[in-house]
């Protein structure tokens, strides 16, 4: 039980782990070892069994066979509590924080101490000390809802450290972060291992794995295709092949296209965020037919608010014209009628109704149009056929179109949203983070679809935190910082470095 300093070489040894879910072998005799003081990356596509393996380690699932040794001792975890007691702390992809409580309150939640009197200021100090030790800075008295995603993640890590975890599992921690925040996180991870912690880093982003990991294990369909190898020893192509099982093309080809008429005209647009503070300040731009206009920026610089103002979901000052029709401060319905398609940032919270069937989710935008509806009635036979055809055309993996949308994986859900939005040939597509959290294969498909739409003549507003993706797909790029456009340029005339500087506000273009 007690940490016997440095006597053990391995913090974690998992051997021959087998776990079955109805119909799938989630972990098929997987071995995994974590040395003390290392960052070990766990790579794999969605559904490859990474999270399952880590849930076994954190006591959520019990393996059917196989053994786990922590710091040299064989253990059986009956619940997550046992795993925490053994020093294992998992930071989930979806944060488990109470938005209305402060950082300190969230960290203390569920602990035995303090017992009755909170004496928060005392604990605020304790947490500040912990922060300084590991370089994880965040105001302990701030409420969670006031924090950016990156800061919330720090709270999650602090929570685990406060509980005395020395084996940290980070489940796709970068999926929700901006490039700058990713760098911060990597620095934090290095600082943590330097102080003797061991980290398991789950990811499906090859460059990050190569940048930060000491060793690497790759899972594919429940099987380990590489165990504990050196990530530097392989090329990105080889890694991707281990992960997907086939060759992956990293660059989708963009054809030349002469832009046509102006589709979206945004003029002097300003709006506020949920807290009533200015979020977008006097933004103006135009997008023409057959053009992809990319917006780069660190998360929380007004991107969400900009998109919401353009799509009619948020009140704003200024003007938004789609094909010449003013839609600012009108209903979302008016924007949709004038040719808007919107791929929202939040797939499950905004883009779909999770408990309804795929059919009900695919007809969301055209349920009042013929042939699905003539008059007051909805023809569910037509709706079903429509959903079936989208499922077929876009290769959405689901047993049938009557299953609930929440049963779909992230990639398939995104395909469904895209299929629905692209249907009916919209003249304007607003896509926010369309490839976030998807695996390499799915990302390629989504990017291809967007380029096809550009070829067809759609105007596309693309907001992404993946700069490489943005540079590859966009014709023109704007950088948003603190709600303002600090530069607009042609994609060919700029590079990662320049955009990166603009994103942090250190550079402004002359115009």
């Amino acid at each position: 039980m007690i940490n016997q300093s440095d006597e053990y070489p391995f913090a974690v040894e998992m051997q021959d782990i087998v776990l079955r879910f109805p119909g799938v072998l989630a972990n098929d005799h997987v071995n995994f070892t974590l040395k003390k003081g290392e960052i070990h990356a766990l790579l794999g596509e969605n559904g490859a069994g990474k999270s399952t393996l880590m849930n076994v380690l954190s006591g959520l699932y019990k393996p059917e066979s196989g053994s786990i040794r922590i710091k040299g001792e064989t253990v059986t975890f009956n619940s997550p509590k046992d795993a925490i007691a053994a020093g294992i702390g998992m930071v989930h992809q979806h944060f488990m924080l109470v938005p209305t409580l402060t950082v300190t309150q969230n960290i203390l939640l569920g602990l035995k101490k303090p017992k009755f009197f909170m004496n928060l200021s005392h604990y605020d100090k304790k947490i500040l000390d912990l922060q300084e030790k590991f370089g994880l800075l965040v105001d302990p008295t701030a409420k969670i809802w006031q924090l950016s995603v990156g800061e919330q993640q720090r709270v999650e890590i602090l929570k685990m450290l406060y509980r005395g975890a020395d084996i940290l599992i980070l489940d796709e921690p970068t999926a929700v972060l901006a490039p700058q925040e990713i760098d911060d996180l990597m620095a934090t991870m290095r600082a943590l291992v330097a102080q003797g912690k061991s980290i398991i880093f789950i990811s499906h982003k090859l460059n990050e794995v190569q940048a930060v990991a000491d060793r690497l294990t790759v899972l594919r369909k429940g099987l380990a295709t590489a165990e504990g190898i050196d990530p530097q020893g392989l090329s990105r192509g080889q890694l991707a092949e281990l992960m997907v099982g086939r060759k992956v093309i990293f660059r989708v080809e963009k054809q030349a296209k002469e832009p046509g008429q102006v589709v979206l005209e945004v003029d002097d647009l300003s709006t506020t965020n949920n807290r009533g503070l200015p979020a977008v300040r006097s933004v103006s731009f135009q997008i023409r037919e057959g053009e992809i206009f990319g917006v780069a920026g660190i998360a929380g610089n007004g991107q969400s608010e900009l998109v919401e103002a353009i799509t009619g979901l948020r009140e704003a000052v200024g003007s938004v014209r789609i094909n010449g029709v003013e839609v600012c401060n009108c209903s979302p319905r008016k924007s949709i009628k004038n040719g808007l398609a919107h791929i929202p940032e939040d797939r499950t919270g905004v883009g779909t109704a999770p408990n309804l069937s795929l059919t009900n989710n695919t007809i969301m935008k055209n349920y009042s149009q013929s042939p699905i509806s003539n008059g007051w009635r909805i023809n569910y036979i037509e709706a079903h056929d429509f959903a079936d055809s989208l499922k077929e055309d876009y290769d959405i993996q689901a047993p049938n179109v009557e299953v609930q949308a929440r049963k779909l994986s992230g990639g398939n859900l995104q395909k469904l949203i895209l299929a629905r939005e692209i249907y009916g040939a919209p003249s304007l597509i607003v896509a926010m983070q369309p490839t976030r959290g998807l695996d390499v294969g799915a990302i390629e498909g989504i990017q291809r679809l967007l380029l096809e739409q550009r070829q067809r003549g759609a105007a596309i507003l693309l907001l992404s935190e993946e700069l490489e993706e943005l540079l590859m797909l966009s014709d023109r790029i704007a950088v948003i910082f603190d709600g303002e456009f600090v530069g607009q340029m042609d994609a060919d005339e700029t590079d990662l470095n320049q955009i990166g500087m603009m994103m942090t506000g250190t550079l402004r273009s002359e115009q």
Binding site: P332, M364, R377
Partner: protein, 368 residues
Amino acid sequence: MKFPYQLKIDPRTEDTPKWLPITTSVGAIVTAFIISGIVLALIGAQPFRVYQYFFKASFGSWGAFSDIVVKATPLILIGLGCTVAFKMNILNIGAEGQFYMGAFFASLVVLVPIIPLDSPRWLVLTLMAAMGILGGALYGFIPGLLKAVFNVNEIITTLMLNYVAVYWNNYWIFGKYSDAGFQMTPTFDKVAWLPRLADLANEFPFFSGITLHLGVVFGIIAAVLIWVILRHSRWGYEITLIGDNPKAANYAGINIKKNIILVMMLSGALAGLAGMSEVTGVVHRLQERISTNYGFSGVIVAWLAKLNPFAVIPVSILFGALIVAGREIQPSGLSFLIQGTILFLVISSDFLLRYKVHIVRRQQEEVS
């Protein structure tokens, strides 16, 4: 030494089988009777004899069965109103108030009188039904508007408005329309009575004393109507989408505020029609306590029917039976005990729809 078996709970990964919701609902009812039986046994009664008596009192004769359906009629209408609102995640628990308002508005037709009382019976009754619907809808409109415009919690407003409606009703029956100082209005003219089966006793002696009235037909028509709205109409699609994810509905261009108001009005209208059916079909006047908590039982009915409009009918009949049987035995609170236990179990049984429970043998403690 630990007990060799343990419960294992897993979230359901595949679709919930179709038969399961019905099974858990029926299971909840059976379990509620068992638990109430234990309570009966503890207070020294004989549960089997009580239930036997219960059954006889409610299903023992055509007359008794007709009483049950009469009691079930307002429950069907109110249960349907709750179903629509709950489907959109609007927690309308103000059916009680909407019921009283419907009864009041309908009664105005004969109390004022709005049309001469020598008009044909169908005209008087149609107008009364329309007024009942209007009264309930208006009374649903108020919390709907407050929720849509100011985002006021509808649970609070609908609950509070219930009391307002009861006292509003009392004001008129004690004051202006009181029958010789009693807290009730004079009995309505026969022209304002809903037709009963007993009216046909001259032609069919079998029907003599059968209290079943036309209101139950309103209930059945309403069930079909609500089913068509929810399962086959554009509006029903909007209601379902808002109920599951209002943000997605807003994003899809659906006007949520308008729908909140409309759904509250429809929900209120059905409760109002129930009020009309009760004053014209059963008591034949406006008086105090025309509702025996129909508004609240309706909430339970909607839940137990799993928001399925057709299932509302048999569930209402079960609750009608509990009300009728409750009159026959002492303490009459027993039927409330059963009702409460049923609701409790139905809500908890939702757990079984989302999770799988297995009983597994405990794994051998590992030898180290």
